[in-house]
Amino acid sequence: MEPILRVNDLHVSFRARGGEVQAVRGVNFEVKKGEAIAIVGESGSGKSVTAQSIMRLLPSPPSFVKQGTIEFMGRNLLELSEQEMESVRGKDIGMIFQDPMTSLNPTMTIGHQITEGLIKHQGMDRKAARERALELLRLVGIPNPDTRFGQYPHNFSGGMRQRAMIAIALSCNPALLIADEPTTALDVTIQAQILRLMKDLQERFGTSIILITHDLGVVADMCDRVIVMYGGQVVETGSKWDIFRHPQHPYTRGLLRSMPRLDQPKGEPLIPIHGTPPDLLVPPQGCAFCARCEEAMEVCVDHDPELAPVGGEGQTAKCWLHHPFAKEVQA
C-alpha cells in the first residue's frame, strides 16, 4: 500500500549556548494508510522532536531542520508556507499531546475549541459545527455532551480532557493522527479507556496513527509496527511481534530486559542498561549506543552502522553485529 507519510533523512538541531544540539540525526520511516506505528525511546531520543517536525510546531530559532524531507500525501511539508501548513494542521493531521491541561486553551469553552477547526477548515456554519461537535463528544465517550459543550477545560478531569482533545484532533477526519505520549499523564485504568477509544476510532475511520511513547506495554497493545529511537536515530524497526520476540538491536534487548513484568515470577534482580544516554551536543562519532553496549566491538567506536535488514520481514537494525563480517569475528 502507498505510504501517506514518508520521512526521509530528517536532521533537526537546536542552537544552544554550548553549540548545536543534534536532536534528530537522520531519521527515515514511513506510515501506510490505516496503519498504527509506534515510536518508542527514552527522553532525549528525538521521538517528540520528530513528531513536532512533522507538524512544524518547533519554534525556529532555536530549532532548524538541517536536512531531509517530510512527504505527506505527495507534498513536502517542509516546503509549505505557514499558511498552507495551517490547513494541514488539524485538517489532514491531528495531534494529541501528553498534557491535556497545557494544550487546551483555558479561556475557551470545550465546544468553542472543537468547533473552531470545523468552521475554519470545513466551512461549516456555527449550528452545523455545534451538531458535529456534540456528535464528536458522544463518540469519544463524554457523557452529557450538551452541558459539557459549554464548559471550560478546568471543569474536566484528566481523562475527560484527553477525550476532548481526541475529539478536537478527530474533528476534521484527519488522515493521520499523531499522539505524543497520550496516556502518560493518566492513571492506568483511565489509560485503558483512552487506548481502547483510539483503537476503535482507528478501526472505524481507517486513520493512520503515530503513537509516541516510552511504555512498551502500550505499544504491544496498540500498534502494528514499532520504531525504536536512541540518541536521535532510528536503531531498530519491525513488526511488534519481531520487536518483542526477536529484538535484534542490543538497546531494544536491554530495554525489554530492564523492565519487570507483571506476568513473570519475581526474585531475580533487574538487568539494567548501565550508563546514561549520549550528549547530543557532542554526539558520538560511531554507534550512539556503543558506550552502554555490552556487545560493543572496536568498529562501533568510530564507525556509525547503517540501518540494515535483519531477521523478520521488514525488520531493520542499526548495529554492526548484523554485518556479515561480525559473525566471522564472533565465530
Partner: protein, 336 residues
C-alpha cells in the same frame, strides 16, 4: 486490628524484629484537609497496616487515592486527623523535642522528582551533609567530607562528584544523590514516594537494584509508594492497594497479583499493558467506566461501588469491612 506479623518471602519466613513486634504499625490513621465551604477532603481514611523489620511494603493506587498523603502522615510531615502510627512501639504523634528529633533520624524519605527535591544552590556535599549538620553528627570538617564520600560511594557515585551542583547530574544520578541524603542519618525506615516514576525506563532498573542492594546490606525497611504495578510487584514483599483514601486490599505480593480479590485490584491489574503482543492479544481487559469520584464527597458504602461491575444495593448501604479473606490476604469487599 493486626495484620500478619510474620511475612513470607522468597527466603522463607521473616521474623518481625527482635521484640517480635513490627517496626511500624499504622492504626486507624486518618488525614483530612479542609477545602473551604465547610467541606473536608478525606485523603486518608481509617488506614491500618504494619510493616515488619526488613520488609518492603508496596502501596499502589491511582492519583488522588491518598498514597502519598499516607506516606507523609506516617513520616509525621503532616499531623494526623485521627489514629496512631507506632514506630518501634512508640506513638510518633506524641513525641516532642529531643525524642522527636531522634525519631527524625530513624525515618527518611526519598522523593519522586529528583529535579525539585535537591536545592540547586547547594553543592552535593552540602545537600548530603545537611541532615548530618542538623543532627549535629557531622563531626569535624574532615569527618564530614569523609562521610559524604562514603555515602556517594554507597550509592554508586564517585567522590569527585562531591563539589558539583545538581544541574550537572542526570535524573538517575540525582535520584542517587537523594538516596545518599536519605541514608546520611542511618535511618531504619525509608518512605520511597514514587522514587523512579520520573526516570527513564533504562535508568529505573539501576535505581531499583540500588534500593534492593542497600536494603540487604543495611537492613532497611521500605514503604514503597508507586503507581507502576509491575515495579511494585518486583520490589515488594507485600502490597497494599488504596482507593479513595481507603485500603481495599493487602496481600503478599505474588498472591495479590495471582489472586486479586477486590474488583478494583482486578481491574487495575488487567489495565496494565504488558510488553508482549501475544498476551495483549489474548487478554480480557476489564475497562472501568467513569472517573475516580471526588474524595471530598466520596460515595456512600463502598467507595468503589460507582465504578464496580459487580456492585449491588448492599454496597451502597454498607461500607465493607477490611477483613482477612484468606491467610494473610485482606480485602474490603462484601463479595471477596
Amino acid at each position: 486490628m493486626s495484620v500478619s506479623t510474620v511475612t513470607k518471602t522468597e527466603n522463607g519466613f521473616r521474623p518481625t524484629g527482635a521484640s517480635g513486634g513490627p517496626l511500624l504499625e499504622v492504626d486507624r490513621l486518618s488525614k483530612f484537609f479542609p477545602v473551604g465551604g465547610g467541606q473536608t477532603l478525606k485523603a486518608v481514611n481509617d488506614l491500618s497496616l504494619t510493616v515488619a523489620k526488613g520488609e518492603t511494603l508496596g502501596v499502589v493506587g491511582e492519583s488522588g487515592c491518598g498514597k502519598s498523603t499516607a506516606g507523609r502522615t506516617i513520616m509525621r510531615l503532616y499531623e494526623p486527623t485521627a489514629g496512631e502510627t507506632r514506630f518501634e512501639g512508640r506513638n510518633i504523634y506524641k513525641l516532642k523535642g529531643a525524642e522527636l528529633k531522634k525519631l527524625r533520624r530513624e525515618m527518611a524519605m526519598i522523593f519522586q522528582d529528583p529535579y525539585a527535591s535537591l536545592n540547586p544552590r547547594f553543592n552535593i556535599t552540602d545537600i548530603i551533609a545537611e541532615p548530618l549538620d542538623i543532627h549535629g553528627i557531622a563531626g569535624s570538617s574532615k569527618e564530614r567530607k569523609r562521610k559524604v564520600e562514603e555515602l556517594l560511594e554507597l550509592v554508586g557515585l564517585r567522590p569527585e562528584h562531591a563539589n558539583r551542583y545538581p544541574h550537572e547530574f542526570s535524573g538517575g544520578q540525582r535520584q542517587r544523590i537523594g538516596i545518599a541524603r536519605a541514608l546520611a542519618v542511618r535511618p531504619k525506615f525509608i518512605v520511597c514516594d514514587e522514587p523512579i516514576s520520573a526516570l527513564d525506563v533504562s535508568i529505573q532498573a539501576q535505581v531499583v537494584n540500588l534500593l534492593q542492594e542497600l536494603q540487604k546490606s543495611l537492613g532497611l525497611t521500605y514503604l514503597f509508594i508507586a503507581h507502576d504495578l509491575s515495579m511494585v510487584k518486583h520490589i515488594s514483599d507485600r502490597v497494599a492497594v488504596m482507593y479513595l483514601g481507603k485500603m481495599v486490599e493487602l496481600a503478599e505480593s505474588s498472591e495479590l497479583y495471582a489472586n486479586p480479590k477486590h474488583p478494583y485490584t482486578q481491574a487495575l491489574l488487567s489495565a496494565i499493558p504488558i510488553p508482549d503482543p501475544q498476551i495483549e492479544a489474548q487478554k480480557e481487559r476489564i475497562v472501568l467506566s467513569g472517573d475516580l469520584p471526588s474524595p471530598i464527597n466520596p460515595p456512600s458504602g463502598c467507595p468503589f461501588r460507582t465504578r464496580c461491575p459487580h456492585a449491588t444495593e448492599k454496597c451502597a448501604a454498607e461500607a465493607p469491612e477490611f477483613r482477612e479473606v484468606k491467610d494473610g490476604h485482606w480485602a474490603a469487599c462484601h463479595y471477596a
